[in-house]
């Protein structure tokens, strides 16, 4: 199945000055009851955005109308905790195409890539520059080029290279899907099963 294709993200950014943002903060468990992929964006960072009565908390950055954009900038170890892909769906549905941090938790990174939400890991120094730039000028434009694997702060002419695994890069640029790739391996998987030794994993 063809997915969203993504080659460049050029946008203002929203700075979220927090480290160790876990997936329970991104989308609390009580919002995981859906059986489809819709409606998660409105509950993104629910308990940081809204109080118990549903009123917006004015101090939370997503409620500050000055900050807008497709890029979320966040502190070290973003997406730790639960494996819930709903976290990636929530960020994506809210309107983010990329999350920039100095470190990502493994499962979140995979989930994000599987949803064409680009996790961009930068150095702590560059992250600091990004925060400073956007804090000072919310209209600053950040440019992410997936083909070239670069992220730049346009008004400062600062650019940094980022890593992305080569397979996922191809998938995101072209909108390819893992299931299609794996399903095309069917004969190899069947041959593997047939030729296996020492398989005590299931009682036949």
């Amino acid at each position: 199945m063809k997915k969203k294709q993504l080659t460049k993200i050029i946008s203002t950014a929203i700075p979220l000055h927090m480290e160790n943002i876990d997936t329970d903060q991104i989308i609390p468990a009580r919002f995981l009851k859906a059986t489809n992929k819709e409606g998660f964006g409105e509950n993104l960072f629910r308990d940081w955005r809204f109080d118990m009565d549903g009123a917006a908390k004015p101090h939370f950055v997503l409620n500050n109308p000055i900050f807008k954009g497709e890029i979320l900038i966040a502190g070290y170890n973003f997406g730790c905790g639960s494996s819930r892909e709903h976290a990636a769906w929530a960020l994506s549905q809210y309107g983010f195409n990329a999350v920039v941090s100095s470190f990502f938790a493994d499962i979140f990174r995979n989930n994000a890539l599987n949803n064409s939400l680009l996790p961009v890991q930068v150095t702590p120094e560059f992250l600091q520059k990004l925060f400073e730039t956007v804090d000072a000028d919310p209209s600053a434009i950040i440019s992410i080029d997936i083909e070239k694997q670069t992220i730049g702060i346009d008004n400062k002419e600062l650019v940094e290279h980022f890593d992305i695994n080569p397979y996922k890069k191809v998938c995101i640029i072209n909108g390819y899907d893992d299931v299609d790739y794996l399903a095309s391996m069917r004969q190899k998987t069947e041959a593997f099963e047939k030729n296996r030794k020492n398989d005590f994993s299931i009682t036949f």
């Binding site: 199945m1 009851k33 892909e85 080569p166 397979y167 893992d178 998987t189 398989d199 005590f200």
Partner: protein, 468 residues
């Protein structure tokens, strides 16, 4: 002579179906555990693609995250939860997967029932749409949590795309002190290396202190590997592993058992095998632990104090502490002992097995919980619940003032009705003290079952060693 291999490398290498240059490995998955929360969208994907489940006999289903723990025999009251559980029932039926749903004797938390039924075995690859899948590594398996897109991949193909992680060996040698149990080992390790300290690694735990642990104690350690960011945790199989497994419903039998054991004995890391990172810990350095903050790395020994700004060097660490203090309502430098608690939760895939309840009951027996405390016990599975009753432990808990519940994930993640009220303190045998994890505004102290038992009696954080 072959290059010496680690336990991880042996299992990984024997499951690579195919690997293209520059691509991740296509890894065969021996067992796929599924539950109601992370699968409905994956089944929808299969329907859209018009694909069947590739290997139904390698897919095991239960309902755990979103089920009530009270009145489990009745229809689920909460509509969205009911619909999600019903979707699992419908999908399993449509795709030909056996389901151990509510009311089934095998129902329970996926990571409790896998080992208890003998589905989890050494040498396997196991995945589940749940980060605590690392639990199963206690048997010498590669087990890790995945997202829903990956659940769909495994349902459709019994394979998953994975880059090989780095390996880390954590050796814990020596003898554990009085009142120190496996939960303390893992909380200690995480407090030392941080909530991101093992990200990118698959961790093997070894050493004499690990060898002396029961299987259930080993599961607690592997379970929380994800809390330091590790892809998974594992422990080499040994006689303790085989003794635990023998005779379980899905374990090999007769000649197959002998063949299996012979193979499993080849799995431990070869002499001379190397890891990308090594860490050595002395068991004697570990004391009963408790967390003070909002991630599992924010833990201290129970006799310790909440850190102060001076204990940290970077401004972001200082800021993390300040934010955690604000949320937790604690003061930097305060003693942990004596901190009051309001709730006690015994449960979760970390500590809800029979040994956990035995050790907690040994502290509680003949005593009453403090008048300011609400305490409840949620067994990890229906089998565990039955065993608790068989051993009369339920009476011990009830007489002390605990409420006994049915099996499920419950207040570990506050997805069902079992939530800790805002602002209240809960000492919990679960695995995460994140903000709002146990309910919006809830404040969590993670600790071992005996530490939680001691706190239940006194109504405050207590050094359990004084009760032994």
């Amino acid at each position: 002579m072959h290059k010496p291999k680690t336990l991880f490398e042996k299992i990984w290498d024997s499951h690579v179906v195919f690997q293209e240059e520059g691509y991740p490995a296509v890894l065969y998955i021996d067992a796929h555990l599924i539950h109601e929360v992370t699968t409905p969208q994956a089944f929808d994907g299969l329907k859209k693609r018009d694909l069947p489940v590739f290997r139904t006999n390698r897919t095991f289903a239960t309902a755990d995250h979103n089920v009530p723990t009270k009145d489990q025999q009745l229809p689920i009251r909460e509509e969205l939860s009911r619909r999600q559980v019903e979707a699992l029932v419908k999908n399993c039926k449509e795709f030909g997967i056996d389901l151990w749903g509510l009311g089934h004797p095998n129902q329970g938390i996926v990571h409790v029932i896998g080992p208890e039924l003998g589905i989890t075995k050494p040498g396997m690859t196991i995945v589940c749409g749940d980060s605590h899948t690392s639990t199963h590594g206690a048997f010498g398996a590669i087990a890790f949590g995945i997202g829903t897109s990956e659940v769909e991949q495994v349902l459709a193909t019994q394979t998953i795309l994975q880059y090989k992680p780095k390996t880390m060996n954590i050796t814990i040698n020596g003898k554990l002190g009085k009142g120190v149990v496996s939960k303390d080992i893992i909380l200690y390790i995480i407090s030392k290396i941080s909530a991101a300290g093992a990200t990118g690694y698959f961790v093997e735990y070894s050493g004499s202190a690990i060898r002396s642990l029961s299987m259930e104690a080993r599961m607690t350690i592997c379970n929380m590997s994800i809390e330091m960011g590790a892809r998974g945790g594992m422990i080499a199989p040994d006689e303790t592993t085989f003794a635990y497994m023998k005779g379980r419903e899905f374990a090999p039998r007769n000649k197959d058992w002998d063949k299996a054991v012979a193979y499993w004995k080849t799995l431990p890391s070869d002499k001379g095998a190397t890891y990308d990172r090594e860490l050595v810990i002395k068991a004697e350095d570990i004391e009963p632990m408790v967390t003070y903050g909002t991630n599992p790395g924010m833990g201290v020994k129970v006799t310790g104090t909440v850190p102060t700004e001076q204990d940290f060097t970077t401004s972001s660490e200082k800021e993390n502490l300040a934010k955690a203090m604000e949320y937790m309502g604690l003061t930097p430098g305060q003693k942990m002992i004596g901190q009051k608690i309001d709730y006690v939760f015994f449960g979760s895939c970390t500590n809800s097995r029979i040994e956990d309840f035995r050790m907690a009951a040994s502290i509680i027996k003949g005593k009453k919980i403090a008048s300011n405390v609400t305490a409840f016990v949620v067994p990890g599975s229906t089998h565990v619940a039955k065993q608790v009753e068989k051993e009369g432990l339920d009476k011990v808990f009830i007489e002390a003032g605990f409420e006994m519940r049915g099996a499920g994930c419950s207040a570990c993640l506050g997805m069902n009705e079992d939530k800790i009220p805002s602002g209240k303190y809960c000492i919990s045998t679960s695995n995460r003290n994140f903000q709002g994890r146990q309910g919006p505004g809830a404040r969590t102290f993670l600790a071992s079952p005996i530490m939680a038992a001691a706190a239940a009696i006194t109504g405050q954080i207590t050094d359990v060693r004084e009760m032994l």
